[in-house]
């Protein structure tokens, strides 16, 4: 049963921030609530005040410019991202993961910032955005700060968000030439949460040598994590099966997955190996194709 709370409905971002400043110790923010209401019903979250930002239309936008890249406002729904022609053109991976995220109903109501701030390490969006080198903009009454999304996740369902802060925007650097990002998750039911997921970005030079790489794992630790040892092995190399095997092995070693009803730790490491190999290959070949 959901515990009682006082419902606060700010009309503007400024008003929302001042509510957070006033009630920061006993306050939660709801946007689409597609994750929050489930855990509130389970009694895992109890709050005196609930600030509802779902209607803050000033935070619902998708903007792109060649210099600054992509900016997605906090209350933009998953469905808006999925249906955005602009995102499909510049960051096709984001449209692909959205189509595989939960269900149409959830994507219609759930928001980008809600998904990210929930801090579930088995999410699809966070690892993919980290692979895209995204930043997250946080606002409070006292000011703004923008940090790499990678640094936003600090522990199991824990983030760097201060109690008076609100996620207001996600920023993705401009789409680059000879660079590709892909993501795949393993699950038993289509569109279910990832048993394990792997996002990979590969940037190549004209000679198809890897210049930059990111491997980001979902549900492989308490937060989304980068497999940096695996990434390092790829830099300056040409695509080969031996190299991929080595990088996948490194990624599986770096991961710190749990055993639960969905999969054992051992099986998760196996999946990381398989998916890392598959995703790095796909990103690499796609990057070459884009050249």
């Amino acid at each position: 049963m959901i515990h009682d709370f006082t419902y606060l409905k700010p009309g503007t971002l400024q008003e929302a921030l001042s509510m957070l400043a006033d009630h920061k110790e006993e306050c939660k923010v709801i946007s689409g609530g597609q994750s929050l209401l489930i855990i509130m019903r389970q009694g895992l979250v109890v709050t005196d005040y609930l600030v509802d930002i779902k209607r803050l239309n000033e935070l619902s936008y998708i903007k792109y410019d060649e210099k600054g890249g992509l900016r997605i406002g906090a209350t933009t729904t998953h469905r808006a991202v999925e249906k955005s022609e602009l995102i499909k053109q510049k960051y096709p991976v984001l449209v692909a993961i959205e189509k595989g995220l939960a269900s149409v109903q959830v994507r219609n109501w759930g928001t980008i910032a809600g998904n990210l701030a929930h801090g579930d390490s088995s999410g699809d969006l966070a690892p993919t955005l980290i692979a895209l080198d995204a930043k997250i903009k946080l606002s409070s009454e006292t000011g703004n700060r923008t940090i790499p999304l990678e640094e936003f996740y600090t522990g199991l369902f824990e983030t760097a968000l201060n109690k008076d802060e609100l996620v207001v925007e996600v920023q993705v650097p401009p789409a680059r030439e000879l660079t590709a990002t892909v993501y795949e998750k393993f699950n038993l039911i289509k569109n279910d949460q990832a048993v394990v997921g792997v996002a990979a970005t590969v940037a190549v030079d004209q000679g198809s040598t890897c210049k930059e790489a990111r491997i980001v794992l979902s549900n492989a630790a308490v937060t989304p994590i980068r497999a940096k040892n695996g990434e390092r092995l790829l830099i300056g190399k040409k695509l080969s099966d031996a190299l991929l095997t080595e990088a996948a092995e490194a990624a599986a070693k770096e991961a710190d997955p749990v055993s639960d009803i969905h999969a054992s730790e051992e099986y998760r490491r196996h999946l990381i190996r398989v998916l890392t190999k598959r995703m790095v290959t796909e990103a690499w070949e796609e990057a070459i194709r884009l050249g």
């Binding site: 609530g33 509802d52 469905r79 109903q105 569109n191």
Partner: protein, 159 residues
Amino acid sequence: MEKYLLKLKVNGQEYELYINPKTLLVEVIRDHISLTGTKRGCETVSCGACTVTVDDMAVKSCSILAVQAEGRHVRTVEGLEADGKLAPVQKSFLDHGAYQCGFCTPGMLMMSEAFLKENPTPTREEIREGIEGNICRCTGYNSIVRAVEAVAKGNYKKE
């Protein structure tokens, strides 16, 4: 707990209700205004039995606060028929036997209605993807897909 005065439009009718702000949309629909067509199933955004439309978007009413639907138009399965005449999806579900126990049917109907509005000429695969958020525990999916397909093919017109 301070009660919240909720003004909500359901199936074209305006309601004014005093509710606890934690009340879920499905609770308002079933318990406050007694439209029991909408079902409570898993309550974890998984099964889709509670699907209604809010401003023509299919959503799961078990995981939306009723206060968040304020000022929007909620449609439930009771709102599909007009002047005592069944909507095309309803007639097609009947003709195709697109239900076994019937528990998922209200959600399936609302999802199908919203889906066909977005995509009036879907392929069979698109229909399957369109209803991916709705579980039929009897696994009677084939007849449901056929029913939606028949509507898309224009075999059922609004009377």
